[in-house]
């Protein structure tokens, strides 16, 4: 059974204080690892897809990296508008199915 663990559960930063969120996973046959952002009362918004170890992707102040066991979402010089819950999900070939598995998320608050 696929497992996804995100840490920390909650993170408070000052504006401009860079940090990283962690997503550890256990899957058989990774087909993709996804990062989403979710604002309160909204659905998840797609950020990145990573397909293989060593891959990196960037978007504005966010950079996602992937190893064989974990992914990091690095936030550089965050702003208050980066406050949200960040979700990690994996999709793997498990028993012939492609059921995506989400972590519980990291709640990020950036103070001005």
């Amino acid at each position: 059974e696929d497992q996804v663990t995100q840490s920390p559960e909650a993170l408070r930063l000052q504006e401009g204080e860079s940090s990283s969120l962690n997503c550890s996973y256990t899957v058989s046959g990774l087909r993709g690892l996804f990062w989403y952002r979710q604002d309160p009362g909204k659905g998840p918004e797609f950020l990145f897809t990573l397909y293989s170890a060593g891959e990196e992707k960037e978007k504005e102040r966010l950079k996602a990296t992937l190893t064989k066991k974990e992914s990091f979402l690095h936030i550089t010089a965050p702003k208050p508008e980066d406050s949200a819950t960040y979700l990690c999900a994996v999709q793997s070939l498990s028993g012939g199915s492609y059921i995506p598995t989400f972590g519980r998320g990291t709640s990020l608050i950036v103070h001005p």
């Binding site: 996804v4 087909r31 993709g32 996804f34 989403y36 009362g41 909204k42 659905g43 998840p44 918004e45 797609f46 897809t49 397909y51 979700l87 999900a89 999709q91 199915s97 492609y98 059921i99 995506p100 598995t101 989400f102 972590g103 519980r104 998320g105």
Partner: protein
Amino acid sequence: DAGVTQSPTHLIKTRGQQVTLRCSPKSGHDTVSWYQQALGQGPQFIFQYYEEEERQRGNFPDRFSGHQFPNYSSELNVNALLLGDSALYLCASSLFGQGSNQPQHFGDGTRLSIL
């Protein structure tokens, strides 16, 4: 370009009742997945529809059923509602059908409360 739309936004039901939630996928998408998100948890996969058939199913009882129409829109039906069914129900759409590892586009969900 319309994204994923869900209706209704909020719904209150009592135990034992039945409910139907609706979803229209993003324009150009052919695959619809449904998720249940309890408070403080990540989304949990219920099932996925492609070409009007249920293609994959998560660990949910048969009380949860669905349908996909020829225009790719979809419904989620839940029978014999339990208090534990209270959650945000999310619909997500994507392209290329079963087995796709393309990113999903989510709607803002239906908040279902069971009294």
